[in-house]
């Protein structure tokens, strides 16, 4: 597979001095080779190839000095063998513990070509290629000549020292400085810390000069104010980072944690660019936030008034609007939730619902029988079922145990919670049971007081939340990215502050999002919040605006107290049970109206909130004006049917 490579820097006569034990049979080995800095797919790579290796035709079809030449990047056997040991370690993990390679080897460009086992392997084991963003530090040493020790963020791989016997180390470092910030470490003057937060910036400047990437230039001409401001906010971060230098050293662990989290949640660093043309979100004047009021919960009377003699629910839009505004009286919940969650169609008659119920009851017990009828012998051979069961048993005992419905020993509520979760495993064995699901079921079961109804309502809720719990947790990643995008628009200063504290990826909102604020509010308030969210009003992904509303209330404290990474996490965790649901809902609706009334809303924002499809969102008083989101749109709210752009497209787009 041929890729377009741009050679930015090239220097021959760089030597490695393998220590005798590394060198194996070849003692006193000196390896000579070429060091290059390459640009490939908008990534900056530092690549070292020993001499023989670089002329090995199996490695490169045509390696030229010419920066536009196409270099065959088919294989790099050296890299492969160099990291063989690490890979072995990793594989043994995978078999034992099913490790996901979340951290290292993520950007290796090596594809496993055939024929890598040739005679040059012994030498080519010294070749390596690393992404500049994976570099942690460079130590500059002198022994009559200069040699550099490159350290990776991933401490498991180490690189051999590069000896510049024929000079060139300064040019090499100068070249790196074009793409990364090299700051002298205060503890050790010879050590340069590498950071690449400004990559987007430096590259957007490069893009300015590059005719092929006129996106920014184009924008700049059209709207210089917006475009510059966007870049300036990056510059601010860049300068901030540069100035922080010494301070940063002392807070290294949180920063590293943040780096790693950034890798787990990719796409955040430059999330504001999501399509070609370099859309810059910046300080758009949002206007004043309208004050909205909440209403009384919908009463049983009012609910039954909306029912026709056959049992159809009339004027669904009005009902949704009322529920959005005030929630439901507890007495109505048992019935109304079934409609809100899509278990019963709004237009169904009582008769139709009876037959739905019958079919669903049969289906439920069929699935329940499946796990109930598994013998101990069978279960012994089914480790996944065993694991699900063991975790469910543990978690059922640790879910809402102070609630009357689940308290005490041998409470039937506990058995129901257990049985429904086990049956859900049979309904969706691939997902099975993941921690957090018992939190989602508990309020539903509490309201339904019925195993079958609770199960199917839970299934509907899980349809919305499914992606949060999947192996790769894509739903969580998507939501964190979307939330960051929203927060940036709403409050750039706060967003910048969080960024400066390595918290821009908003990890501290993890629990909020995973289980929809279940642990943050009192049980009764959770019921209120959820029924309001299930109306699908006033916009798609309203729960993200709820996050923004809570953060808006906390930002003053966080910034005034100058909280760092750990303190922010702790502060947010400790908000649990101290939040007022009505206050939050009021504020979040205000934010929604504020954003909606904003002209020239960036596309990224309007697509998160679903303003594109229907440019019609509730005015405060307007009952019935709101569109009824189809049940499937609820699924969208979790990123389900977002057009899924490739994971790293953000990065690619901003730089290509």
């Amino acid at each position: 597979m041929a890729e377009l490579l741009k050679v930015i820097f090239e220097h021959e006569g760089i030597f490695l001095h393998p220590s005798p034990d590394e060198g194996g049979p070849e003692q006193d080995l000196l390896v000579s080779g070429t060091l290059r800095v390459l640009e490939k797919d908008a990534e900056i790579l530092v690549e070292y190839r020993p001499l023989e290796d670089s002329v090995d035709p199996s490695n490169m079809l045509c390696a030229g000095q010419d920066s536009s030449s196409v270099v065959e990047w088919a294989q790099c056997p050296g890299e492969k063998s160099q990291s063989r040991q690490q890979l072995e370690t990793q594989q043994s993990y995978e078999t034992e513990w099913d490790m996901v390679n979340a951290i290292s080897f993520r950007k290796k460009n090596c594809t496993n070509g055939e024929g890598s086992l040739n005679h040059s392997q012994e030498r080519s084991r010294w070749a390596f290629s690393v992404n500049i963003s994976d570099l942690k530090s460079i130590t500059v040493k002198d022994e009559g000549w200069t040699f550099l020790i490159l350290k990776l963020k991933d401490a498991f791989s180490s690189l051999p020292a590069l000896h510049f016997h024929q000079g060139g180390s300064k040019d090499f470092l100068d070249c790196l400085r074009r793409f990364a910030l090299l700051t002298e470490c205060p503890e050790d003057k010879t050590c340069l810390m590498v950071s690449t937060p400004n990559r987007a910036l430096s590259q957007s400047f490069e893009n300015l000069l590059d005719d092929n990437n006129f996106g920014l230039v184009h924008k700049f001409k059209r709207d210089p104010y917006v475009a510059t401001l966007g870049s300036f906010s990056k510059v601010t971060n860049y300068i901030y980072d540069a100035l922080r230098g010494a301070e940063e050293q002392q807070q290294r662990p949180p920063e590293e944690v943040a780096d790693l989290l950034g890798e787990v949640i990719p796409g955040l660093e430059i999330n504001q660019q999501e399509e070609p043309g370099f859309e810059v979100i910046t300080r758009i004047d949002l206007g004043a936030r309208p004050r909205v009021s909440r209403a009384e919960p919908l009463s049983a009377d009012d609910w039954s008034k909306h029912q026709d003699p056959e049992g159809r629910m009339k004027d669904e839009a009005t009902l949704r609007q009322k529920i959005f505004k005030g929630g439901l009286c507890h007495a109505v919940r048992k019935e109304a939730w079934k409609f809100l969650l899509g278990y019963y169609p709004w237009s169904s008659t009582l008769e139709e619902r009876k037959s739905v119920l019958k079919a669903k009851t049969d289906e439920y017990f069929r699935m329940k029988l499946q796990w109930k009828s598994i013998s101990e012998e069978q279960e012994r051979r089914n480790s996944r079922l065993r694991d699900y069961r063991s975790l469910i048993e543990k978690d059922v005992n640790r879910t809402d145990r102070t609630n009357r419905f689940y308290e005490g020993l041998n409470n039937p509520g506990l058995t129901l919670l257990h049985d429904i979760l086990m049956t859900y495993c049979m309904y969706d064995f691939d997902l099975g049971y993941v921690q957090g699901m018992s939190d989602l079921l508990s309020p539903i079961l509490y309201v339904m007081e019925n195993e079958v109804d609770a199960f199917w309502c839970f299934v509907s809720f899980m349809d919305q939340m499914h992606q949060n719990f999947e192996e790769q947790m894509q739903g969580m990643k998507t939501q964190l990215i979307q939330l960051s995008t929203l927060l940036r628009l709403l409050d750039l200063a706060f967003w910048n502050y969080l960024e400066s504290q390595e918290s821009g990826y908003l990890y501290f909102c993890f629990r909020w999002l995973l289980i929809r604020f279940k642990r943050e509010l009192s049980f009764q308030d959770v019921l209120r919040l959820w029924e309001v969210m299930w109306t699908g009003l006033p916009c798609q992904n309203f729960h993200l605006l709820i996050c923004c509303a809570i953060l808006d209330s906390e930002k003053q404290k966080i910034m005034e107290e100058n909280y760092g990474f750990n303190e922010i996490l702790k502060h947010i965790n400790e908000l649990a049970m101290k939040l007022d649901v009505e206050e939050i809902l009021q504020k979040a609706e205000g934010i929604c109206l504020q954003i909606h009334s904003c002209k020239d809303l960036p596309h990224s924002i309007s697509s998160i909130l679903g303003f594109d499809a229907k440019r019609q969102v509730p005015n405060q008083a307007g009952l019935g004006g709101a569109p009824r989101p189809a049940p499937q749109q609820d699924a969208c709210s979790n990123g389900h049917c977002r057009e899924s752009r490739p994971q790293n497209s953000c990065r690619g787009v901003s730089t290509s």
Partner: protein
């Protein structure tokens, strides 16, 4: 030059349901709640204690034990000064998984010399009568895996909890002192500033 660390990061690892959060809460607040929620995400508590006449802040990190959450848990391993490997004496599987937890920790925590890293092993829930793991088995494992100190704890009745954390502190400080005498030339030396206690102490 060899100023002692005044902030120690200790992390509790082990299978879901072995009692990590309960151990942390027992130590920090001296309370036990049999109906504590299972942990979602990552939490930590601080506790200040005096060691050899100077104040040390212990930052205790508690994580969700389920496999699925690994990628969001492991970044927090970095910078740990001590790791408390926890199992429950009434759950043999949680004991068998200790070595996986150890490996996961070493892999993700960026531990320079795994053989010298201070691990402490806790066999929790000794108040429960139906044991599946004997003290001998557990001690054997500790001995074979690096001579780790082993404590049989009960978060419920407070048995050995404080002792175990104190041991963790001493091990962490000892490892730190040792590292101070052997600074490799190409290592960046790190000092950690104590974080403001008012801001993060509970």
């Amino acid at each position: 030059m060899t100023a002692r660390k005044s902030l120690l990061k200790v992390i509790l690892l082990g299978d879901g349901g072995v009692g990590k959060s309960s151990i942390m809460n027992r130590y920090v607040t001296n309370k036990f709640d049999a109906h504590l929620f299972h942990t979602i995400g990552v939490e930590f508590l601080n506790k200040t204690l005096e060691v050899d006449g100077s104040q040390v802040t212990l930052q205790i990190w508690d994580t969700a034990g389920q496999e699925r959450f690994r990628s969001l848990r492991t970044p927090f391993y970095r910078g740990s000064d001590c790791c408390l490997l926890t199992f429950s004496v009434d759950d043999n599987q949680s004991f068998l998984n200790l070595s996986n937890w150890k490996k996961e920790f070493i892999y993700y925590a960026d531990v320079k010399e795994p053989e010298n890293f201070p691990f402490v092993v806790l066999g929790n829930k000794v108040d429960v009568t139906e044991r599946q793991v004997s003290a001998e088995e557990a001690r054997m494992w500790c001995q074979e895996n690096g001579d780790y100190p082993y404590f049989e704890t009960s978060a419920k009745d407070a048995t050995n909890v404080a002792v175990a954390f104190e041991e963790a502190v001493h091990r962490a400080l000892a490892a730190d002192d040792k590292a101070d005498h052997l600074i490799p030339t190409d290592t960046v030396k790190l000092h950690r500033k104590p974080r403001s206690a008012t801001a993060c102490c509970s």
